[in-house]
């Protein structure tokens, strides 16, 4: 069957703005998150194999690479949370003015970094 629906114009067509950056990042982090959640499901399932088999996973998670992946995934989750809240507020009909979309877009980008740091410090009882 022939698909007559138009495709979205490719992202390279447009000049980059804060709102387009947040929009495409929302999609990218969404895909990263579901890959991350799949790995987390695998991690939880590996507990069934017992303590000895879990040792290799524990070594990886305690390595620099493991910490980097964890921190990266935390940022990706934080970005998704703030961006989703922004979307929900816009769905209620607020924040469509050009200046407001720029401000909320910046809040999502900068806020996700701060939220990552804050949640990491709380999670590690460093606060």
């Amino acid at each position: 069957m022939e698909n007559k629906k138009p495709l979205s114009p490719h992202i390279q067509v447009y000049k980059w703005h804060i709102s387009s950056l947040v929009s495409i990042s929302h999609r990218i982090t969404g895909i990263i998150n579901i890959i991350g959640i799949t790995l987390i499901c695998l991690w939880a399932s590996l507990l069934l194999l017992g303590e000895n088999s879990y040792e290799a996973v524990n070594l990886l998670l305690n390595s620099q690479i493991g910490k980097f992946i964890t921190l990266g995934l935390t940022w990706s989750f934080c970005f998704q949370i703030l961006s989703e809240i922004r979307h929900l507020i816009m769905d209620l009909g607020y924040g469509f003015e050009l200046k407001t979309t720029k401000i909320t877009g910046l809040l999502v980008i900068i806020g996700s970094i701060f939220l990552t740091i804050i949640l990491y410090l709380i999670g590690k009882n460093l606060f």
């Binding site: 979205s8 969404g30 959640i37 499901c41 939880a44 507990l47 949370i81 989703e84 999670g123």
Partner: protein
Amino acid sequence: MIAATKKWIFLKISGAILVPLMAWFILSFISIYDQSYSEVLEFFTNPLSKFLFSLFIITAYFFSALSISEVFEDYIKDYKIKNVANGFLYVSAVVIPLITIILLINL
């Protein structure tokens, strides 16, 4: 109500449910990811954690399947490829959380 409107409503409801669950999971994950086997096991065998984690993965896969299918809709022109991709996506969104929850129950 047309299918696209229903899909949009489901996407928004699951998105709103996912926000607090994701925040809870990040905090929990950061506090346990580098801990010993017994501590991680304790987290996943705790009834409340098990319930919230199950709810989190069900909502996350449901939300992701709907939102990633939108990406396919926007960027895949070939009807057959789009159908296969969507089929794989929807099956994964059911099978992965289901298997994980069954395994967690048996922990």
